[in-house]
Amino acid sequence: MKIIVCVKRVPETEARIRIADDRKGIDPAGLKYIVSPYDEYALEAGLRLKEAAGQGEVVALTLGDAAAAEQLRSALAVGADRAVLLKGAAGMDGLATARALAAELKDAGADLILFGMKAVDDDQQQVGPMVAELLGLPCITVAAEIEVKDGQVVCHREIEGGYEVVEAPLPAVVTVTKGKHEPRYPSLKGIMAAKKKPLEEKEAQAGGERVRVLELSYPPERPPGRIVGEGAEAVPELVRLLREEAKVL
């Protein structure tokens, strides 16, 4: 079984974001970058499916600048067999990103293409199903559990207040959420082996961005709050404020 996992290089989630001087993006200075957490779950899902099948290949694919090779090495270190870096910009327009990825995936012969259910930078949550549409493949999003059997993929898809049991024939695209996909840590051996695994670099098919960022801004400051008091004795006053001032009870 051939599984391709699409990953994205994003700033670490505990990082504070500084908006760049032109206000069109963020200032990367001093930021640490990671594999987007949901993409780690997707990678973990891919590795487990390969292990369950007893054979196959897991390929990590990214669209990004040269620095994204670092994230591909992380993917190789936890067990991906090889990696492909499409050099180009992944902007806010998911459809532009999806077109670049679809051009690479079209003839790649994957049985399963996995994505994290969203990247935690732009939070657009759209590239996976767009790639599926462009390739004419079925797509299941936000899968907490994934099983492959008899040429079908069956997933538990998270929805409000529960989940759907969804199935589709292979080849298919699945976007992955945490579920039980707690990512493995790379072993020292894995990190050493990753340096020798193939990492291919190619130019991505160019742009066509139609989601145009006008400006980034910081969230509005919340008006200063107050400490109502200490301990359980403060509760009646809190309830009064919630009723009479905030009017939310």
């Binding site: 459809l95 139609r210 801004s217």
Partner: protein, 329 residues
């Protein structure tokens, strides 16, 4: 003038609250443009009968696509239906709810229409005749204002942010006859399994009671459940990343950058210190209450009201006070 299409959502034949939010937001845009709102209802046979109520929220027309296979969400079929309706109407913009359904559906429709999509918007404006969408990025650590170059402009709206407003219009119902091709539907929803609790998802709840490491262990969540119960049926439980990582609570309850971003009217953070990625996910809440032992906890910086002290004394007292209030009402 080109009109606005508002894509609604039903489950088991009943329109969900997000549908009213999307139609109301569409009404705002249409008024700014001098255009009409067309609500689109996709569902099982007979769904059209309940669709006229959308006039109350500002729909001039209600377009209905019925199919026997549309009782459950059907990604391929719905995408075909919505793309066909969007093409047929030549719209300025198509709005979706950024619910589980809308987040799955909108990208498929965008790819079919070759149209730009901005997801999870928290504000919409018409400036110089063009649509400007505000959406959180980095889970709310920053906001982006974006323009969409292409027609129709596709936007999904974060639940709970756009309040439904009554604004009565005709709501004329018409059956839309679109070409559907069930042979091409390959994704099949076999069943919907509801969680035991009959509570809204944390992303759609009006009130969220959220617990962190200060709760000391999963065995103490009964305290937060009792508080939630006292507050009422539109209250749900949330959790910090620390307690989800520790396996105390399911990931579906996690609030923050690697969980859900929420905008309830009231957010009660209990024993949550307020890591930056958590604050990003809940800072658009209407009112924030923090209960924490540590007066220096960052959560107090965003809270409107704070109580410093032991959650195990404060929460039961709060539950009692709210119960008393409810019984007096």
């Amino acid at each position: 003038m080109k009109n606005i299409l508002a894509v609604t959502e039903q489950r088991e034949g009943a329109l969900r609250r997000v549908s009213h939010e999307v139609v109301s937001a569409a009404r705002g845009l249409a008024d700014a443009l001098g255009a009409e709102v067309h609500a689109l209802v996709v569902g099982p046979a007979g769904i059209g009968d309940s669709a006229a109520e959308l006039g109350r929220w500002g729909a001039d027309r209600v377009r209905v696509v019925e199919h026997e296979a549309f009782g459950l969400y059907n990604p391929d079929g719905y995408a075909q239906a919505v793309a066909a309706a969007a093409k047929d109407g030549g719209y300025f913009a198509v709005l979706f709810p950024a619910s589980a359904m809308g987040k799955d559906l909108a990208p498929r429709v965008a790819a079919k229409l070759d149209a730009p999509l901005a997801t999870d918007a928290t504000a919409l404006a018409i400036q110089d005749g063009d649509l400007v969408v505000t959406r959180p990025v980095y889970a709310g650590k920053a906001f982006a204002r974006v323009a969409l170059d292409g027609e129709p402009r596709l936007v999904s709206l974060r639940p709970n942010v756009f309040r439904p407003a009554e604004n009565s219009r005709a709501g004329t119902v018409e059956r839309l006859d679109v070409a559907l091709d069930p042979a091409a539907w390959r994704v099949r929803v076999r069943e919907v399994v509801a969680a035991a609790a009959e509570r809204p998802d944390v992303s759609e709840a009006a009130v969220v009671v959220s617990g962190g490491r200060g709760m000391r262990g999963p065995e103490h969540w009964g305290l937060l459940e009792a508080l939630c119960e006292a507050i009422g049926p539109r209250c749900s439980l949330g959790a910090s990343r620390a307690v989800v990582d520790a396996g105390w609570r399911p990931h579906s309850e996690q609030v923050g950058q690697t969980g859900k971003t929420v905008s309830p009217q009231l957010y009660i953070a209990v024993g949550i210190s307020g890591a930056i990625q958590h604050l990003a996910g809940m800072r658009t809440a209407g009112t924030i209450v923090a209960i924490n032992k540590d007066p220096e906890a960052p959560i107090f910086k965003v809270a409107d009201y704070g109580i410093v002290g032991d959650a195990f004394e404060i929460v039961p007292r709060l539950t009692d006070e709210i119960r008393r209030l409810r019984s007096e009402e």
